[in-house]
């Protein structure tokens, strides 16, 4: 049993106060996280979680900024639903599928390298249209870069940042779409903190991201996530996760809302950065497993 294992673990801790299992869990968690960080030779690790069942919130390095990679797509999703909620955009509106975008640096045009975008779902419609709803779906579930840049073009970066500001989500900075090489070279990147993404996901989980309807729509899209090597890989099969991964050469992130039977969901953000020479490991899944064990332990105490 997961819960039992957790208790045994705690008993071995010299500093854990016997009766305060929350404090004990925190110490245990902290120690395990450091272990994972060392084992995977991570350069940086940021974690934030909030458990709606126990109302415990915990963070490790929660305010450190990381390259956002594809977790920025959550902010785009938020920006889209802001406009939908305000009646300025329809989810059924048609968008011309076109692979040409403008860099935020010098307004230079650029095209996505679609060989890397594992994405016939969107690219296959080149020259035709997809709806906002379809683009949002592919942007999240298959991390389509083409869908992302099209949606960024539709709603605009200022609107996305405005959405973050008005929902008081600090720790998520959106400057541009994806694959803007000129911007990357100029050091202009989207950045996130674990606490920032946590705040955003908590609003969605609580139905407070603009409205219950909008939050549920976003949640349902995130539940269809097809890349499952991050948070879900550390969980029992029955767990459902509404999440978004973010992978580029040296970062591997996952941010999501975890639904486990018979308890309220918990929100978890894991940001990892590793040296260029080391391959992407299982750090995110390992942290996810650890957090799950800790939370399960607290629940069943």
């Amino acid at each position: 049993m997961v819960a039992k294992a957790q208790v045994l673990e705690e008993e071995k801790l010299p500093v854990a106060p016997a009766k305060d299992s929350v404090a004990a869990s925190e110490v245990s968690l902290y120690r395990n996280v450091l272990k994972i960080k060392n084992e995977h030779t991570l350069e940086n690790l940021g974690i934030a979680f909030y458990d709606a069942q126990t109302t415990i919130q915990w963070a490790y390095n929660g305010d450190q900024y990381f390259h956002a990679a594809s977790t920025m797509k959550l902010a785009v999703l938020l920006g889209v639903f802001r406009q939908v909620e305000r009646g300025e955009l329809s989810l059924e509106a048609a968008v011309h599928i076109r692979n040409r975008f403008t860099s935020i640096v010098n307004q230079q045009p650029f095209m996505l390298d679609l060989g890397r975008d594992a994405d016939p779902d969107v690219y296959g419609h080149l020259g035709r249209t997809l709806t906002i709803r379809e683009l949002a779906y592919w942007m999240i579930t298959k991390s389509s870069n083409l869908a992302t840049n099209l949606l960024v073009e539709v709603v605009g970066v200022p609107t996305i940042q405005h959405a973050l500001d008005e929902l008081e989500i600090d720790g998520v900075r959106i400057l541009r779409g994806v694959e803007d090489q000129a911007a990357f070279e100029a050091g202009l990147n989207n950045e996130v903190t674990a606490n920032g993404l946590l705040k955003m996901l908590r609003l969605i989980a609580d139905g407070r991201a603009y409205s219950k309807v909008a939050s549920d729509e976003m949640l349902n899209i995130m539940l269809e996530q097809q890349y499952r090597s991050g948070i879900p890989a550390g969980l029992p099969k029955a767990a459902r996760v509404a999440h978004k991964t973010g992978n580029i050469s040296t970062v591997h992130h996952d941010a999501g809302i975890v639904f486990v039977e018979d308890r309220k969901p918990y929100v978890l953000v894991i940001l990892t950065q590793f040296p260029a020479e080391s391959a992407r490991g299982t750090a995110v899944a390992d942290v996810s497993r650890d957090i799950y064990n800790t939370i399960a332990g607290m629940t069943y105490e």
């Binding site: 955009l89 329809s90 509106a93 048609a94 968008v95 011309h96 599928i97 076109r98 692979n99 040409r100 230079q108 045009p109 650029f110 095209m111 080149l126 020259g127 035709r128 249209t129 906002i132 539709v154």
Partner: protein
């Protein structure tokens, strides 16, 4: 057995306030060079989606291909009845020739046919607002994504007639990225034969007037029996 096609022609001054404010018939706009151009006033009215598909301007170009837009077009103008300047039939005529010479089907892109003055891409006057320009992203199986392909088909289009203008590779951006052929006939306006221009540029007595422009004249003129016989023999 096909009947002669009739396309309803409207004087945009007779349309409701919202449509007039979006189509801006007869109003002046400036092109990118600051030259003033008067927007078209006579439009084909396309009543339904089915009609858009059925109305052929030439053997290979239906009117629906010229009205494909996305959310950049004003919401009201995405609803039927739709409107498109009558000069579009001239464009269709040249595109049909283009198709023949290119030896492949021509695909007008979304937002690549008629764009109203309210369309988000209509910053300056462009021929798209006259219905006399088409952006083409695909010719037969070729997606036009290389400079070579675009230059090749630009040459083919330009050879058609002195009335046809194309844009150089990278015209939108001034540099080396492009994804389509733009072909246009300039700022051509058409006053359909059936229209009478005997009035000031305001609606008279609030009574809309329109005409029907009859298409496929040869078939219409031919004796009914002969037409039937021809159809059977084919």
């Amino acid at each position: 057995m096909s009947e002669p096609q009739q396309i309803k022609v409207v004087d945009a001054f007779d349309l409701d306030d919202e449509l007039r404010s979006l189509l801006k018939p007869g109003e002046m706009v400036r092109d990118a060079q600051g030259r003033r151009k008067r927007l078209p006033r006579y439009f084909y009215e396309i009543p339904t989606h089915d009609a858009a598909i059925q109305i052929r301007l030439t053997p290979h170009f239906g009117i629906n291909e010229f009205i494909l837009v996305d959310l950049k077009e004003a919401q009201r103008l995405q609803q039927f009845p739709r409107y498109i300047p009558c000069a579009v039939r001239l464009l269709a005529f040249f595109l049909e020739q283009f198709r023949t010479v290119a030896g492949a089907s021509i695909h007008i892109a979304v937002n690549g046919g008629y764009r109203s003055p309210a369309h988000k891409m209509s910053i300056n006057a462009t021929e798209h607002m006259w219905g006399t320009a088409a952006d083409i992203y695909r010719i037969g199986p070729n997606i036009l994504k290389t400079q070579e392909l675009i230059a090749k088909f630009n040459d083919v289009a330009e050879e058609l007639s002195d009335d046809v203008t194309v844009m150089k590779y990278g015209h939108d951006t001034g540099i080396s990225v492009d994804d389509h052929v733009h072909i246009d006939l300039g700022y051509v306006t058409v006053v359909p034969r059936e229209i009478s221009e005997d009035r000031m540029e305001v609606p008279q007595e609030n009574r809309p007037r329109f005409a029907f422009e009859e298409r496929r004249r040869r078939e219409r003129r031919a004796p009914q029996i002969a037409v039937t016989a021809n159809n059977k023999s084919e």
